[in-house]
């Protein structure tokens, strides 16, 4: 184990996979000399050269589509989309091509493409630069959506993504790039998709999160324990498609209460999917309706106080738990 920051764990995963498999190459806007907008590819240009660490024009649809094409021809491209906000102009390639070609072709072709992108608000970047669209990607059959909360998982999940024969949307929370954690050194350490992690155990409530919201759940669990004498299960979904509902259901059947936490808008969001599945599979165990703590349904405001009010917080989670007792 080595302690490292999230961005270094991500870089290490890419580096190891490039060393392991020469079909792997990287492309994206400013991933070369600049080192990536969040410094995830820093140093890789020097190590692997401009053919395998390729700077691209600002053409999200073009480069994601080029990734699909290279994948169809036997390569394993990683396309970095600077932030998830810009994935919106590449949706045609992600949704109409990457996610569907295997099915539509009757299994003849497959698209081993890794799309990395940074997500989340909280930096006063305003409405166009603060999206959390994990749930939107999880909506599409054919996509795998990975949302790590810890550096160790990020490395294992990203390495696993490079070995997946299908497109993977790998979403990194901007607030977590500097977060530190223990990371396994073993170059064969992979984290399997569709397996949630119980990062904290308790008996009074189940808190469910992914990516940044796992940390809110964790802090809320601290507050519940310290201030209210309550203990919580905290479940880190790690991938939201495939989704490990069994771990959630097992926990809810024990705690009888659940709060789902995410940064994304509440209306039509992914938390609603989890709440519905809990209702379908654990209705008789519930002592209270499942609560959702999510982003407010507004375009993200620039003002710091307004932005803070628009994002879910650990206090909101605590409040939701207390309201269901």
């Amino acid at each position: 184990m080595t302690e490292m920051r999230m961005r270094d764990a991500i870089r290490e995963a890419m580096r190891e996979e490039m060393l392991r498999d020469e079909r792997v190459f990287l492309m994206g806007e400013d991933i070369g000399a600049y080192g990536g907008s969040y410094a995830c590819t820093r140093g890789l240009l020097d190590e692997f050269g401009p053919e395998r660490v390729r700077d691209t024009p600002i053409s999200e649809s073009g480069i994601v589509g080029a990734g699909v094409g290279a994948a169809l021809a036997g390569f394993i491209p990683m396309v970095e989309i600077m932030t998830i906000n810009f994935s919106l102009v590449a949706l045609d390639q992600i949704v109409n091509n990457a996610s569907k070609l295997h099915y539509m072709s009757g299994g003849q072709v497959n698209v081993p493409l890794v799309l990395r992108m940074a997500s989340g608000g909280g930096s006063q970047l305003g409405a166009t630069h603060s999206h959390s669209l994990e749930g939107m990607f999880a909506h599409f059959p054919g996509l795998t959506v990975v949302c790590p909360a810890f550096p160790g998982d990020a490395k294992g999940l990203l390495k696993r993504s490079f070995r997946e024969p299908n497109p993977v949307v790998f979403i990194e929370h901007t607030a977590l790039y500097g977060a530190r954690g223990e990371v396994p050194d073993d170059p064969d350490h992979l984290v399997e998709f569709g397996r949630a992690a119980t990062v904290r155990s308790g008996k009074d409530v189940t808190l469910v999160g992914y990516s940044g919201s796992v940390h809110q759940c964790y802090r809320a669990a601290d507050m519940l324990a310290a201030e209210h004498g309550l203990t919580a299960d905290v479940i880190d979904l790690r991938t939201i498609r495939p989704l490990d509902m069994s771990s959630v259901i097992r926990s809810v059947r024990r705690t009888n209460r659940a709060v789902v936490v995410e940064d994304d808008w509440k209306f039509g969001g992914f938390a609603g999917e989890i709440a519905a599945q809990i209702m379908e599979r654990a209705f008789d165990w519930l002592d209270a309706p499942v609560a959702r703590v999510a982003g407010k349904d507004v375009p993200m405001p620039y003002n710091r106080n307004l932005e803070y009010a628009a994002l879910p917080s650990e206090e909101d989670v605590v409040e939701a738990v207390l309201a269901m007792l």
Partner: protein, 337 residues
């Protein structure tokens, strides 16, 4: 023929008698296949959107015959002709249109999404210009692998107004990708004439991306063939992409749902006078390569093949409902490297 940066002339050997015979056979096969599709559509055997290719046969046959087997093709939704020219069996294409398991895509794709990976036919794509970045990626793969195969990307004039057209051409140009861009300019994007939708001629727009760009007669199979040969030689030598705008015309409506309110019957008749099949037949006859009897025999052969395709498609079963979830993702087989 007007030209951009390069003037296509016959390169290498002009197609010999056998090759011309093959062009004629393939164009006839496409013509009769498409006419049969129209019939099968009115009989309810083919559903969904059906875009027919009659009138444009010379494009598919001329361009695709210039390819090597290891070159890769992506095309748009008007794709039956391209698949046939690539040698995909008429049986399997018709079965796909009938939505049967014997179809190229086991009935999961339909008319607009024909795939045959064994022939490097990597799909018909139904989002206008959505496959153009994919073609750039194929070219990138060719370069990264150090091999000299090329990608042929076929699309309509309607694609030129899409952002993905411009992104893809730009990528191909800056990275010197071995892609031949082949625009089938049939005069219309659905019902809108292309000069109402574009600020400049197609080949001039493409030329601004610093690649050779030519406008050719897309109803002359020999010209299409030689222009594509020239283009392929250019891209294989590492010179970057090449653009061909082939002027052509579709005889039928945009799709079977088109009432054709935007053009006159006289206009269609005018283009039929330039028919690519009749033109080749005439020149082959003049060269002593063809006579009426052998032409009739060719038509009979093609018709038999098309009838056989219908019989094959009809006999092929529908996919079982238990297969609904098959092929959403490819199975992960562990870390095989």
């Amino acid at each position: 023929m007007s030209v951009g940066q390069a003037i296509p002339t016959i390169v290498g050997e002009p197609p010999d008698g056998d090759l011309q015979q093959r062009f004629l056979y393939e164009m006839l096969l496409i013509r009769r296949f498409e006419e049969k599709c129209a019939e099968m559509y009115t009989r309810g055997k083919i559903r969904g959107f059906l875009h027919l290719y009659t009138g444009e046969e010379a494009c598919a046959v001329g361009a695709i015959n210039a390819l090597r087997a290891d070159d890769k093709i992506v095309t748009h939704y008007r794709d039956h002709g391209h698949a046939l020219a690539r040698g995909v069996e008429a049986n399997r294409i018709m079965a796909e249109l009938f939505a049967r398991v014997g179809g190229t895509n086991q009935g999961r794709g339909g008319s607009m999404h024909i795939f045959d990976v064994d022939r490097n036919f990597l799909g018909g794509y139904a989002i206008v210009a959505g496959h153009m970045p994919i073609a750039a990626g194929l070219g990138l793969a060719a370069n990264l692998s150090g091999e000299d195969w090329a990608a042929l990307c076929i699309f309509g004039d309607g694609g030129v107004g899409e952002g993905e057209f411009h992104e893809a051409l730009n990528l191909a140009a800056i990275w010197k990708l071995p892609v031949v861009w082949f625009c089938e300019n049939n005069g219309y994007g659905m019902g809108v004439p292309f000069d109402d939708s574009l600020a400049n001629d197609v080949y001039k727009i493409a030329a601004s991306y610093q690649m050779p760009s030519v406008r050719i007669d897309g109803m002359d199979v020999l010209e299409v063939y030689s222009a594509t040969q020239l283009a392929l030689a250019h891209v294989r030598e590492g010179n970057g992409p090449y653009f061909i705008e082939a002027l052509t015309y579709r005889y039928r409506g945009h799709s079977m749902a088109d009432p054709e309110l935007y053009r006159t019957k006289a206009e269609v008749e005018e283009y039929r006078k330039r028919d690519a099949i009749q033109r080749l037949k005439r020149s082959m006859t003049a060269d002593g390569l063809m006579d009426e009897a052998s032409y009739e025999a060719l038509v009979a052969q093609v018709d038999a093949e098309v009838d056989e395709a219908v019989a094959y498609a009809d006999a092929s079963p529908e996919p079982g409902l238990h297969t609904l979830y098959d092929h959403i993702t490819k199975e992960y087989e562990g870390d095989s490297g």
